[in-house]
């Protein structure tokens, strides 16, 4: 992303959500974008798959300049970018396997191939036994796993995660992070996670960008010799993200 900016016009005047941000995320890494609410993290993420288009600047994903592509070509690029959301956004009127099958139906994958891929993806997230159920009967963690399976169905190179664990309890959060890590390791998918939870970044991210008031205020990599999940809990915001994430102040 180069020099991207996005301003929304709200009732009480314009709001600069993202201000001249440049960011490069190396392929094959897990990158965290952390910061307080309203910092523009989600907007930044949503520009990576053109859910939002920047007012200025350009976004290049997988070597294709999203911001310059016509809509139909852009849609093709989007098929190699999966996305999961805080609120899962599943189709509640379709079964678990129906949901996972949607991205394949959009590109006209033949039925038998679809069924096979759906089974594969559900096995990957450990939900084969729920295939015929409707999302309403699942727990939050299970719904997010269905969403992950759905995002994986089209064999994406990139997985964007918008606050993927923010509506889940700590134990379920750990499970979901486990699944994401597993995806990263076995499929080599590049993962970008937007979160306000320090633990999420601490447990799986390699690169970190700290975002505040529409700008990236700090960026660094986390050395991890171990994937021990952070259990320290959220520390006070006065200590900088860098201090907390690079050790030093364990709270």
């Amino acid at each position: 992303m180069e020099h991207v900016s996005k301003t929304y016009s709200l009732q009480n005047g314009p709001f600069e959500a993202v201000r001249d941000v440049s960011l490069r995320i190396p392929q094959g890494t897990i990158h965290g974008i952390i910061g307080p609410s309203g910092a523009g993290k989600s907007t930044l993420l949503r520009m990576m798959n053109a859910l939002e288009l920047p007012d200025q600047g350009k976004v290049t994903v997988l070597g294709r300049e999203l911001t310059a592509l016509p809509e139909t070509t852009r849609r093709e690029v989007l098929r190699s970018i999966g996305m999961i959301f805080q609120q899962f956004h599943l189709l509640n009127n379709r079964t678990v396997s129906g949901n996972v099958s949607v991205p394949l139906e959009l590109v006209g994958t033949p039925k038998r191939e679809r069924a096979e891929r759906v089974r594969e993806c559900l096995r990957f997230v450990g939900l084969e036994d729920k295939a015929g159920q409707y999302p309403a009967s699942l727990s939050g963690g299970q719904k997010q796993r269905v969403a992950i399976a759905r995002a994986l169905a089209s064999r994406p190179d990139i997985l964007l995660c918008d606050e993927p664990t923010s509506s889940l309890d700590p134990k379920t959060t750990a499970e979901i992070l486990e699944v994401l890590l597993h995806i990263h390791r076995t499929l080599g998918v590049t993962i970008v996670i937007v979160t306000h939870e320090m633990d999420v970044v601490r447990s799986i991210c390699q690169g970190v960008s700290v975002m505040e008031e529409g700008r990236i205020t700090d960026a660094f990599t986390l050395q991890r010799n171990d994937t021990e999940a952070g259990t320290a809990g959220l520390a006070g915001y006065r200590v900088s993200y860098r201090d907390q994430l690079l050790g030093g102040t364990e709270v």
Partner: protein, 226 residues
Amino acid sequence: MDFFLLMWEGFVQYRSQIGEAIGETFVMVGIALLAAVLLGLPAGTALYLTGKGQLYDHPLRYGLLNGAVNVIRSFPFLLLVVFMIPLTRLIVGTAIGTLAASIPLAVVAIAIYARFVEQSLLEVPRGVLESARSMGASKLQIITKFLYVEARSGLVLGLTSSTISFISYSTVMGVVGGGGVGDFAIRYGYQRFETELMAVVILLMIVLVQGIQFIGNALSRWLDKR
């Protein structure tokens, strides 16, 4: 008790006329239903899509469509029937009869159902649309594979309510010789003072409406997995 006996006798005596009247009502309501589904559903979808902040946000088109729906719905129905006579004559060649009566009913049907469709679609969470876009779905796919899927139980309930309105509207079609049960009730029950025949028709209508609502509710519940 005597009155019920009278009703029964009247029903038996006029069963062929009543049967015919029911047939006419079904034709009118059937055509209206067809128009609602074939034209009201797209119109309602267009209303939704051109609305503020939606996929095809277009204030002018929304304003025109919205205005048209409101204008049609604000006509007292009887006046619309009369007002539309020239147009009806253009479409079916005559302004009299069951088929001719179906035209204004179809027009109202489109407007009524379009509004129901718009409301149902507005209830689909925006996140569903976002996930659709993130998958690279085309606009048509977003409508058919996401919006309609999530709104389907509301769409059915809307059609149920609409159908009941169509039946009610169809009862004034006597003015243009459209026939139907309403017309029968007025001519025999009211104008010929055979009150029991009016009661028979009202009873039939009650049963019909209850039945339609029951079926609509059941279908909608079955479709709703949320």
